[in-house]
């Protein structure tokens, strides 16, 4: 079995890693998000939608995910890059 990387499944996994993982520094020398981080909010919401779409085989392109994001973004907890 070969690993996927540049596929839809791969991109979902990549976003998950880049936004949630890697070194996260909590320090006052870092630009921190005291308020709602829009990028985190939107990407997290998009990710949630894509996961669902992949489940049901409906994922066609990123644009599809975007439409669904608008409906769901209020209920998604934003991620914080730093704390």
């Amino acid at each position: 079995m070969l690993p996927e990387r540049n596929t839809k499944v791969g991109v979902v996994d990549l976003l998950d890693r880049v936004l949630d993982k890697g070194i996260v520094i909590s320090a006052d020398v870092i630009i921190s998000f005291a308020d709602m981080p829009l990028i985190g909010l939107n990407l997290r919401a998009a990710l949630a939608c894509i996961d669902k779409m992949l489940d049901y085989g409906l994922m066609t392109d990123w644009g599809e995910a975007q439409k669904a994001v608008e409906k769901e973004k209020e209920v998604i907890t934003p991620i914080k890059i730093t704390s």
């Binding site: 079995m1 070969l2 690993p3 996927e4 990387r5 499944v9 791969g10 991109v11 996994d13 990549l14 976003l15 998950d16 890693r17 880049v18 936004l19 949630d20 993982k21 890697g22 070194i23 996260v24 520094i25 320090a27 020398v29 870092i30 630009i31 998000f33 981080p37 829009l38 990028i39 939107n42 990407l43 998009a46 996961d51 489940d55 990123w62 644009g63 995910a65 975007q66 994001v69 890059i81 730093t82």
Partner: protein
């Protein structure tokens, strides 16, 4: 009129504001061992020039920016930034051999503060680089299929029919009991399979088990594997994927995002 004034006179107010923005902050992609010959990195987020900022024998891979986080409401733009972030990290991994990736949007307000971070954490960073050398991260998600549940239900329904024939008055309680038994048996089977798969995969490298995020997902692993064992891992996952009741989603190779956290010695001993 001086040359500087002439240039400013041809700029729009917006362009003037942009050119006056300070770029003292440093966006950090990752940390690596410094190698002055390996500086051929692609353009970073928003086409920014990416370079190696050294501190003794280690370095941070950075671009200069203003002290402002990258944020947008435009999802395709956000996705593009994240992919550019990963492109630089993957390229640095290729060039330097081993790196410690940073989470998206980590920006130090001043270069001096980043250098101070490198200075303070030098030993920990070097130890982490040593630990990650020659390894890649893979995403492994294992799902169970409806067939597993169906088989248990079928077996239990046979039992229920047999009992019902014997004592019709007890059918409601028997049904409840059987439902609970089906649930318990499915949980037991899944637990057994989880342990079996974990054992099978863990021989290839270190595993971090993350939360289950999707329906019918049994396991959500990030696995740090020596490059030489990648093919064997793929074969082993192929065997699980061929099983009637399970399917596998295998992604990578990724830079070691899930294994990047720096641990203090005390934390490590406690773990």
């Amino acid at each position: 009129m001086s040359q500087k004034n002439q240039i400013q006179a041809t700029q729009t107010p917006q362009e003037q504001t942009k050119s006056q923005e300070k770029t003292n902050a440093r966006y950090v992609y990752c940390i690596g061992s410094f190698n002055e010959k390996k500086t051929d990195l692609d353009k970073g987020i928003e086409g920014n020039k990416v370079y190696l900022l050294p501190f003794e024998d280690i370095c941070a891979i950075v671009h200069n920016c203003s002290a402002k986080a990258y944020e947008t409401k435009d999802n395709s733009k956000a996705k593009q930034w994240v992919i550019q972030h990963d492109n630089i990290i993957s390229k640095a991994l290729e060039e330097l051999g081993v790196i410690i990736p940073f989470s998206f949007d980590t920006i130090f307000k001043e270069e001096d503060q980043l250098v101070e971070f490198l200075k303070l954490n030098k030993e920990k960073l070097k130890e982490k680089l040593k630990q990650l050398e020659g390894k890649r991260e893979f995403g492994i998600k294992i799902f169970y299929k409806e067939s597993l549940r169906e088989r248990i239900v079928k077996e239990k329904t046979k039992q229920l029919d047999a009992i019902k024939k014997e004592d019709k008055g007890k059918s409601y309680f028997l049904r409840k009991k059987v439902e609970q038994e089906i649930f318990n048996e499915l949980q037991n089977k899944l637990k057994k399979h989880f342990q079996e798969f974990y054992k099978k995969i863990s021989i290839f490298g270190e595993i971090i088990a993350a939360n289950i995020k999707e329906k019918d997902m049994l396991a959500n692993f990030s696995c740090l594997v020596p490059i030489s064992k990648t093919e064997e891992l793929g074969k082993s996952l192929g065997e699980i994927n061929k099983l009637e009741d399970f399917s596998v989603r295998f992604t990578g190779p990724w830079p070691p995002y899930s294994f990047a956290q720096l641990q203090d010695k005390e934390q490590k001993n406690a773990a």
